[in-house]
């Protein structure tokens, strides 16, 4: 054993793999699938702030994701530039998240879940029914992707790299957040809200700020989505989309960094790759979820770590019998 630890090696290999995806995948369809995994991973990481660290299960996050995509799409259609549309989308999503938070944080647990569900449904209703604004079921199309620093993102590979940069920024931010005093405060409100208040913390404000932080990364994910598809329609804001991203978080492992990323990968691969071979791909996805919940109730990533550790101990115990044990 030299000074290189296994997690570091894994991290290096993963980073190398991610940066070379367009080289070894080749087919632009699959490069696009990789972009979607990353953008949904950003979305899942955003939701994980509330679900994992805050203990607040939201079923309205697809609404925030859609607000961002729609705002950007509609502003671009109205003739605004990309920079203005992106800033507008982020601000609009933050505003919506603030309204969501003020209404939903009157409660926790099931109450919080039901209020976010209702608010998400209102946004879906707006996207679907307010056709004058949102173009209803036909959705909103945009004609161009932005070209930051003069680099065109029109191709699948260049868009993938842009998404990767944003994804890595999200991962770095989430890591810093989880390790920070504020992250510890948020986890404290999840585990012992009452004690936190008695210790001098403003529990409501901590949750509110966490909601805004989550909303910010939802808006970034929503922007990546509309630029990736160059199209957005009401189904993005539907309850099923909220449930899907929640399943990404829960199946991968809440309150972990890798969990939501793994969850996003599973769902997106099922949706865009397996669906090409299996018509009832959602059935396969369901079976996978049931298997994860049965064998790794804590989620795929922490569950795998646990089982790997268990297997390794067993393997070592078998190779080296304990001293004094009968031969």
């Amino acid at each position: 054993m030299s000074g290189v630890s296994a997690p570091r090696v894994a991290f290096g290999v993963t980073l190398f793999g991610l940066t070379t995806v367009p080289l070894w995948v080749g087919n632009s369809y699959y490069i696009d699938v990789a972009s979607q995994i990353l953008l949904f991973a950003v979305f899942a990481l955003a939701l994980n702030v509330l679900v994992g660290y805050g203990g607040l299960v939201s079923l309205g996050h697809a609404g925030l994701f859609a607000v961002s995509g729609y705002t950007a799409g509609l502003m671009l259609q109205a003739g605004f530039g990309h920079a203005a549309a992106d800033v507008g989308a982020v601000l609009m999503t933050l505003l919506t998240a603030a309204v969501f938070a003020v209404l939903a944080l009157r409660s926790t647990g099931i109450g919080f879940l039901m209020i976010t569900l209702a608010l998400g449904q209102i946004l879906w209703g707006i996207a679907y029914r307010w056709a004058d604004l949102t173009n209803g079921d036909n959705g909103v199309s945009i004609s161009t992707r932005p070209a930051p620093f003069g680099i065109s993102l029109a191709g699948a590979s260049s868009f993938y790299y842009a998404t990767l940069v944003v994804f890595l920024l999200a991962v770095i931010t989430m890591t810093a957040f989880a390790r920070s005093p504020f992250g510890a405060s948020l986890r404290g409100t999840r585990d012992q809200a009452r004690r936190m208040t008695a210790l001098g913390y403003n529990v409501w404000m901590i949750r509110f700020l966490a909601f805004l932080f989550s909303g910010f990364w939802c808006s970034i994910a929503g922007l990546l989505y509309i630029y990736n598809k160059q199209f957005i329609s009401p189904q993005v804001s539907a309850l099923q989309a909220s449930a899907e991203v929640l399943l990404m978080v829960i199946s991968g492992g809440t309150a972990t960094l890798m969990g939501p990323i793994a969850g996003a990968a599973i769902v997106v691969v099922m949706k865009y790759v397996v669906s090409a071979y299996v018509v009832r791909w959602s059935l396969v996805l369901g079976v996978i979820f049931v298997a994860i919940i049965s064998f790794m109730p804590e989620g795929l990533v922490p569950g795998s770590v646990r089982i790997w550790g268990f297997a390794r101990r067993r393997w070592r115990a078998r190779r080296k019998p304990a001293p004094g044990a009968p031969p």
């Binding site: 810093a176 957040f177 390790r179 920070s180 005093p181 504020f182 992250g183 510890a184 405060s185 986890r187 404290g188 585990d191 012992q192 009452r194 004690r195 936190m196 208040t197 008695a198 210790l199 001098g200 913390y201 403003n202 529990v203 700020l209 932080f213």
Partner: protein
């Protein structure tokens, strides 16, 4: 100036008056013991003093400052700390992290999303000192789930003491402890310096009697007897409440 002054404090749950016009005056540095049978309203009184429950009537003042309308979290910043009868700790963290959270609660650092909490060595050092004072310094890094009930009681006290409170409210600090553990906790409480005012609830009067300067007997939400140890023990109403004579 009195450390803690409670006047006419009243709280009802539906038709039940759990706290009924309670008056309580605790001098700085005093050790006050509040006793009373089950359901006397002892813990409710604590919840009203800390602001975890809102009172229906009456006032609470901390060192002359009216805090009746102050939020619970605000009172912590004004120097009020408490422990819980039902242990209320952070089960997923280590003992040390529990105490660090107590320290962080009064620090502006708690809003910081950028720096690493583990890098704030001064918090860990102070938390370690607080744990050493309650005799848990050697197991500071142990996860809370791997600690005994008696150790958790002491973590409760360490968290409250780490906040450097002016007034410390202890809700049955001896509940559920063995005889040896009780002795340790009693020594621990006796060693708390007199610049901390202590109000302590106990269900069993004999457990903590020798720690108290004055004793208040609470029954059905009202103060029945108040006085020095000897006065309260000798009072026939105390015998009546406790022995039903």
């Amino acid at each position: 100036m009195t450390a803690l002054a409670v006047t006419g404090l009243t709280k009802s749950f539906g038709g039940l008056r759990v706290t009924n016009g309670v008056n309580l005056t605790v001098e700085p540095g005093e050790r006050r013991l509040i006793i009373g049978p089950n359901g006397a309203g002892k813990t409710t009184l604590f919840n009203l003093i800390t602001g975890e429950l809102a009172s229906d009537a009456g006032t609470v003042a901390l060192f002359g400052r009216d805090i009746t309308r102050s939020a619970c979290r605000r009172r912590a910043h004004l120097g009020l700390a408490r422990t819980y009868q039902i242990i209320t700790l952070f089960p997923r963290d280590t003992i040390l992290r529990n105490v660090v959270l107590a320290l962080l609660g009064l620090s502006g650092l708690r809003w910081n999303p950028l720096v690493g909490l583990d890098r704030q060595r001064h918090l860990a050092t102070r938390a370690g000192e607080a744990l050493a004072r309650v005799g848990l310094g050697h197991i500071a890094d142990r996860p809370l789930t791997e600690t005994s009930y008696g150790e958790r009681r002491r973590v409760e006290i360490a968290m409250a003491m780490a906040q450097n409170p002016k007034v410390l409210l202890l809700d049955e600090p001896f509940a559920g402890l063995s005889i040896d553990e009780r002795r340790d906790v009693r020594q621990l409480l006796a060693a708390i310096p007199r610049d901390v005012t202590i109000v302590m609830i106990e269900h069993n009067m004999d457990v903590a009697l020798d720690l108290a300067d004055r004793v208040t007997l609470l029954h059905f939400g009202e103060v029945i007897v108040e006085g020095t140890r000897a006065e309260v023990v000798a009072d026939p109403r105390t015998r009546e409440v406790y022995l039903g004579e």
